[in-house]
Symmetry: D2
C-alpha cells in the first residue's frame, strides 16, 4: 500500500477525483469522491495497521473499508441489481455491523481477529462493488429511493472515515512506539483569547430538520434522528465564545478537580474510582511536564489548544468547577444555525487532525462551533417529538441507540467538512473518550 | 419483634399516632407519624429479615432504619443541637449513604454484612435521635431552615419506606420458601376495561414547581429536582387511559416479543442477550401457567392486573410492539396536573402492596395516574432549565444522579400517598426492575 | 439466643453432655456431644449474626447448623428410618451443599439471602432430626454401614464447626465495629525460640491410612482421601522446629517481600498485581504500628505469635525469601506420625481461637505440629495411588475436589482436637486466607 | 511474504540449511537451522496473519519471531558482545515475555495491538541479531556458559515454534472463513486398533534428568524442571497401548458425558456450567454430523483419529467414564523411557500438523507415546525433590509456574522432533484446550 504513494503527501484533494466539491457533484461523481477518500485515508498505512482492534469499540481500518462496502452491497446492489453476484456470501455475516433485520453479525469485539479476508481481498471487494455501483448509478440515479439510499450510504461512509481515524489513533496512541500517521500535518499553534460569552434571549425556537424529499440532493440530506423540525422553549442563556483550552483544564487538574467528589456526577465519580483516569486520553506526564499524543506524533500539551479526548463526565465536572454548565443541544443548535461558520471550521481537509484554536470569536457569534472537536451537550440522545425511524433494516440506523447516550454537536478535525450541519446529532456514552470530544460552556441568564 | 404484635393486622393507621392526616399535622406530630410508620412497616419482620441485602442495590431493612435516623442526626441534631452526643461516632461512617461532603461511606454492596449494630441497637439509636429531635422540634419548629430540613428528612424517610418494601420483596421473592409479608392484604381482582386514549392539544405548557418558601409547610414541599417551574413546548399527543395489563404483556410475550431484536433499543437487546430475562421479575412459569410472587405470596398472574416489575427496556419494547411509545415526562405531568386523582390512588395505605386496576377511567382523564406502579417515561433524568441544587451536603441529594437514568412518574402501591404529586420525579436505571414499575402508553397525534 | 446463656462463659466442656471424651464415648453419646457443640458455638451469637455471608465462600452460621442436620437427614434418616417425615421437603434443596447425586442445590453465593427458615426454625429442624437420630441410634448402632455413616456425619459436623468460626471471623473482622466473639478467651503471649531444624534421613516411607473396617470406632476413622496407606520415597530433608512468627513475617514485609517479583510464583505475583494484599488478612497498620483482629478483638501484632491468615502464595514467597521451601505433605506426615503431640496442641477446646506459640520444641521433634494453624505444604491435593472414592453420593465428599487445591496439615486453633490426626489432609485454593493458615519451613539436606 | 514462495510446498527440510540433522550439527549450524525454521513456518502467512491475538494466551506470530530474537539479544548479545548496539532500545520492553528480572513487560493481552514494528522491521531485527550471533558463535562456541545459553535459546525458540502454530490455529479456527495453513499436508486416515493395556510392576523407579554439564551438547540438554534425577515409588499399574480416539470420545458424548456431574471434578463441572464447552475445541456439529477444523482445513471427525484439543477436565472426566484414570507423570516417564520411540512419532516434520493414529502398538510397548498430541497426566506441575532453578533471570524460565498447572508428556504433531524426550515436562492450566492435548488412559493393577 504505502509503497505506491510518494512520501510527500499532496493532500486529500490534490489531484484525482477527490478534489471536486462533493456537495455540488452529481451523484455518481460524489460516490467516487467519497469512496476514494476512504482509500486515500488508508493508503499510508502499513498492512499491519489495517487489522488493529485495540478495544472492542475501535474497529480495524480493514473492517471499516469492508463494512462501508457491505452497506452498498446490502442496501443497493442486492435489492436493485438483479445481476449482482456476491464476492463472498460470508461477507454478509462478517461485515454486518448491527443490522438484525439483515441477519446475524460476527461478534464486534473480535473484528480484529480476522486476518482474512486480507487487505488485498477487501480492496478487491470494494472494487467489485464500486464497479457494480457505478454501472447502477449510471442507470438509476433518477430513482428517488435508490438515490436516497446512495446518499445515505455516502454519509454512512463519511462517518466511518471519522471512526477509522479515531480508532487508528487509539491503536497508535497505545503503542509505545507512538507511530505517526503520515497524512497528518503539523497543527499550528495559536493563542486563545479570553473566554467571553454570547447571550441568547431564548423563547420558542425551532430545531431539527423537516425530512427532505427523497432524491439525490446531498446538500439537503439529514439523518432521521434530526427530524422532524419542531419547537422547543428555551430560557435565556449564554454560550461561551470559544471552547475550553488545555490550559484551563490543567488549572482544573491542579485545583484537585479529579479528587473532588462534589464536582462529579455520581456515575462519573464511580467511574473515576473504578480505575478511571486522572487526565485526558493521550496525555502523559513526564518530569512535571505534560505531553499528548496526536496523529502527527507526541508533543507538549499546548495550553492554548482546545481541550479534547475528555469524557462527558469530565466535561460535566469541569463545567461545574468553572461555575457553568454544558449547553443543551437546542441551545447549541439555534446559535449554530445563525452564527456557525462551517466553512471556517477545522475539518479533516486541513489534515491537521487535531484541534486548533481559530484565534478569536467573530463579531457575530462564538468561534469554532464547527470542527476541531465534538462538543458535549447535556442532552440525552432521545427521539425528537414525532420521530419515526426509516422503514425496514435502515430503521436500525439511528433510532435504536436512543438510550444511555449523550448528544454531541459540531463535528471534529477528523470529520469531512461537508458531512456536518447545525442540526447534526452525534452521540456517545458518557465515559467515551476516544473520539475528538471537548467542552464548550453555557450558563443561565 | 413479631412476637409483640397480633397476627391480625389492624392496619397502618389503626390506632396510635399514625392515623392522623400527616399533611395537616404540625411538624412535631408529622415527625412522629412518619417515624412511626417505619417501625410499623418492620414490626412484622423476623430479626433475620432485617439484615438482608440480596443484591447491591437492595439495602437491608435495618440499614434503612438506621440511615434515615442518620439523616436527622447529621443534618438536624449535629448542626442545631449543641447538646447532642453521638450514640456511636462510627455510625456517621456506617450509615452515610452517598454524601461525600459528610465523609467516607461504608461500601454499599456490603451493608448486608453488618450484623452489628443489632436491630435492638438500631432501634435504640432511633429512639435516642427521636427523643432529641422531639425536644428540638418543640423549640425550633418556627426556624425556617430547621423546619425545611425536617420536612426534607421526612420525605427522605418516606422514600426509604418504599425502598424498604421493594428491597424486602426482592429478598423474599428470591427465597424458595416465598415468605409472606404479614402486613400485605389480599389485593382485589378487578376487570380492566378496553384501552382508550385521552388527547391533549399540546402547546406551550408549564411543568415543575417554583421553589416553595422555606418553612414547615409539608404540603408545599418539593424536591429540588422538581424546580424551577418552567415552560415546555409539546406537540399534540394522546395518553392511554389506563396502564398496560399483565394480559397484554402476555400477548407480547406470546408474539415473540423477547426474541424480536427490532422491537428493542440496542442496549436493551444487549441486556437481553447477556443473560437478561424473558419475563417480568417475580414471574414464574409452571406447567404452562404463569405465577407471580407478591408480598402477599405467590398467585396466578391476573391478566387484568396492571403490569409491574418491568425494566425501561421492556417497557419501551412493549410500547414499540403496541405501535405506541412511552410518554414524555412533561406530557405525563400536564395531564396528571389536571386529571390525576391522588386521593383515589392505590398507595401503601391500602396495604395491598400490589397494583390493582381501578376498573375504568374517569370522565375527565386517564385512570390510575397516581399509585399502583411507577410509570416509565421516555425522558432521561436531567436538570430542569435553571435548576440549582441545594447548598452544602444536601445538594448531593438529587442533582448528582442526573445521568444515565430515566424518569418515572406517579408513585406506586408501596409509596405513602402524601409523598407524591404531579411534579414528582422518580428515577432509575434502564435495566432496573425491582421497583414497582409499569407502562402507560402514549402516542403522537 | 444469647439471652438464655450467662455472660460468664463456663467453657466448651463445662457441664452438660459435651464434657465427655468424645473418642471414648459410645456412638449415641458421641452424637449428642458433637451436635451439642455446634449449638454451644453459636449460643453467644446475636440472631443477626447467624445469617452473615460476607463472601461466597463464607457461609452463614445458620446454614452450617442446617446443612450438618441435612447431612444426617439425607444419609441416615431417609435411607434407614422408614417413619421419618421431612420437616420441610424444600430443605433438601436449600441445605444441600454440593451433592449432585442428591439433587440440585440452592446457589452457594446466596446462602446469606435466606432469612427464612429462621434461626428458631433451623433449631427446630435440628431438634427433630436429633430426636429421630437418637431413636435410630438406639436401635441400629450395631449396623456397620449405619454406624460408619454416623461417624462420617460427626466428622463432617466438626469440619463445619471449624468453618463456622472462620466464616464468622471473616464477617466480624470486616465489620468496622470489630465485634468480639464471646467464647474467645484472651490468648497468652509466649516467647518464640530461635528457629531450629529437625533432620530426617528420608528413604522409602509409608503415609496414609488403610481403610478401617466399617463400624462405629471413631478413633479408627479416616476420610477416604487419606487412603490407602502407601509407600513414598523421600530424599533427606529438614523441618523447622516451629512455625514462622509474625515478627519474622514483618521482617519479610520490611525487606520489600511484597514488591519483589522473583520471590513469587507467577500466579501469586499476578494475584498481587490484581488487587492482592500487602499484609496478612486481618492486619491493619495505624501510625506505624500493626494490629490484627482476633476473635477476642483487635490487638497489636505479637511478633512472637505464629503467623496466620496467609495464602499459599504468601507462604511460598516467604519460604523463598527465607531460603527454604514449604514441606511436602509426606515429609510432614512422617514427622508428625512419630513426633506430633496432638494432645498438646492448641485446639478449639482452649477457646483461645488464635495461634499461641508453645514456647519451644520438645526433645523429640518439632513443636506445634498439631493445632494453632494449618500448615501449607507444597503438595497439590491429589488422589493417593489406589484411591477409590466411597460409593454413591458420599463419594462426592472429597474426591471431586482433587484439582487446583493445595494440601494443609495439622489442624488449627478452631479445630476440635479429636478431629485431626497425622494423616489428615485439609485443602484450600492457593489464594485462600480466611482459614487459620500458616507456614512451617522445610529444606533439602 | 507469501508472494515469494511457490504454492507447492517442498517441505520443512527441503533445501537450504534446514535439512541437516540438528542434533548432530555444530552449534553455529544448529543455530541457523532452528532460526530458519521459524522463518519457514511463517513464510506462507499473509502479512495480516502475523499480528493476530485472538485471546490473551495466543500471541501473534510476529511477537513469537520478535520475542525469540529478544531472548538471544538479552541473554547472549548484551552480556557477551561488547559491540552490540540495540536495534531499538524499546524492544527490550516490547518483547520481554515475563522476565521481571530483566524489567517491565508490555501487557501480554495487548500484544496483538502492536502493528509496529512491522513484520519487515521484525525480520530486520531478527537478521541483525542473527548476524551478531553468528559472529559471536564463531568466536565463543567453546565457552560453556555461552554455549549453554545458546542451546537454551534454541530450545526456547522451538517451544515458540509450537506455540506459533497452536496460536495461529486458534485464530484461523475462529475465523468463519476457516483459512488453511499452507504448510499443512493432508493427514492420512488409519484404523485404530482395539485398546489394550501394558502392565508395569511398579516399585522404586528413577525419573528426571541429572543436570548435564555445561556446554554445547544439544542432545544432552534438559530444562531445569526435569532435574534432578530422583527416585519415585510406584504401585503396579497399566498404561493403555494407544490414546483415546475421537470415536471413543463421541461415545462419551453420546452417553451424556457432559451432563453427568459425577464424572467431573468439581472445578471442571463449575467450568462447564459457567459457559464451558460441550465438545472438543474446533469441533462443530452440522446436520447430525461432526466436523473439526485442522490446519489443513475443516474435515469430518475421524472416529479412528486420536482425540485432541480437550482440557484436563475433559480428559479426567472421560477417564472416569471409561473406568480408568490419567497416568501419573512418573508412570508415563518410566514406560516412555524404555518403550517410547521418538523416531517414529508424528512431529512437526511430517507437516500433517494433526494427530494420526500409528495403527497398532509395537511388541514392546504402547504406541505413539511421542508426538501426535501431548498427553494429560494427573500430576500437578511441581518441583522435583532437590530442584533448584537456574541463577539470574533465566531462573524465571520454569520454576515460577509451578502452581495450578498440570503436567503433559510426549510432544505433539507441532513439536519439533528433536525437542522432546521421555523426561520432558510440559504444563498447562486445567481448562486450556488450544494446545494439541489428548488422553492416554491408565489404571491400577
Amino acid at each position: 500500500m504505502s509503497e505506491s504513494r510518494a512520501p510527500a503527501d499532496e493532500g486529500i484533494f490534490a489531484g484525482g477525483r477527490a478534489d471536486r466539491d462533493e456537495q455540488d457533484a452529481t451523484l455518481p461523481a460524489a460516490y467516487l469522491a467519497v469512496r476514494d477518500r476512504s482509500l486515500w485515508l488508508t493508503d499510508v498505512l502499513e498492512i499491519e495497521d489495517y487489522g488493529l482492534q485495540p478495544m472492542p469499540d475501535a474497529s480495524p481500518a480493514k473492517w471499516h473499508l469492508a463494512h462501508t462496502t457491505w452497506f452498498f452491497e446490502t442496501f443497493l446492489l442486492k435489492p436493485f441489481d438483479p445481476h449482482w453476484r456476491s464476492v463472498d456470501a460470508r461477507y454478509e455475516y462478517l461485515f454486518n455491523s448491527y443490522y438484525n433485520s439483515v441477519g446475524a453479525q460476527f461478534p464486534r469485539a473480535h473484528r480484529g481477529d480476522l486476518s482474512r479476508p486480507t487487505v488485498r481481498e477487501v480492496l478487491a471487494y470494494r472494487a467489485a462493488v464500486d464497479d457494480a455501483m457505478s454501472a447502477l448509478l449510471a442507470r438509476r440515479s433518477e430513482d428517488d429511493e435508490f438515490a436516497a439510499r446512495v446518499v445515505l450510504g455516502l454519509h454512512h461512509e463519511e462517518q466511518h472515515q471519522e471512526l477509522l481515524l479515531t480508532d487508528l489513533k487509539y491503536a497508535f496512541g497505545h503503542n509505545p512506539l507512538l507511530p505517526v500517521y503520515a497524512h497528518a500535518r503539523p497543527a499550528p499553534a495559536r493563542a486563545a483569547g479570553v473566554l467571553g460569552w454570547r447571550e441568547h434571549v431564548g423563547g420558542l425556537v425551532e430545531i431539527g430538520r423537516a425530512p427532505s424529499p427523497p432524491g439525490a440532493d446531498r446538500a439537503a440530506f439529514e439523518f432521521d434522528n434530526e427530524t422532524p423540525r419542531h419547537r422547543v422553549y428555551l430560557e435565556p442563556f449564554a454560550l461561551a465564545d470559544r471552547c475550553v483550552t488545555c490550559g484551563e483544564y490543567l488549572d482544573f487538574m491542579a485545583d484537585g478537580g479529579y479528587a473532588a467528589p462534589t464536582l462529579w456526577l455520581s456515575d462519573g465519580w464511580a467511574w473515576l474510582q473504578d480505575g478511571g483516569p486522572r487526565h485526558p486520553l493521550y496525555w502523559r506526564e513526564a518530569d512535571g511536564a505534560w505531553f499528548e499524543y496526536t496523529l502527527a506524533g507526541e508533543r507538549p500539551v499546548d495550553r492554548d489548544a482546545p481541550l479534547t479526548h475528555v469524557s462527558f463526565y469530565e466535561a460535566d465536572a469541569y463545567a461545574r468547577w468553572a461555575k457553568a454548565r454544558l449547553p443543551r443541544e437546542a441551545e447549541w443548535e439555534v446559535v449554530a444555525d445563525r452564527h456557525g461558520r462551517r466553512e471556517a471550521g477545522n475539518f479533516v481537509e486541513t489534515q491537521w487532525l487535531h484541534p486548533v484554536c481559530s484565534g478569536s470569536a467573530g463579531d457575530d457569534g462564538p468561534a469554532d462551533l464547527f470542527g476541531n472537536q465534538w462538543e458535549w451537550t447535556c442532552s440525552a440522545y432521545a427521539p425528537y417529538p414525532g420521530f419515526a425511524p426509516a422503514a425496514g433494516a435502515l430503521g436500525e440506523y439511528n433510532g435504536k441507540f436512543m438510550s444511555n447516550q449523550v448528544v454531541l454537536r459540531g463535528g471534529s478535525c477528523v470529520t469531512p467538512q461537508a458531512h456536518v450541519r447545525a442540526s447534526y446529532r452525534n452521540f456517545f456514552y458518557p465515559p467515551d473518550r476516544w473520539q475528538f470530544t471537548g467542552v464548550r460552556l453555557a450558563r443561565d441568564l
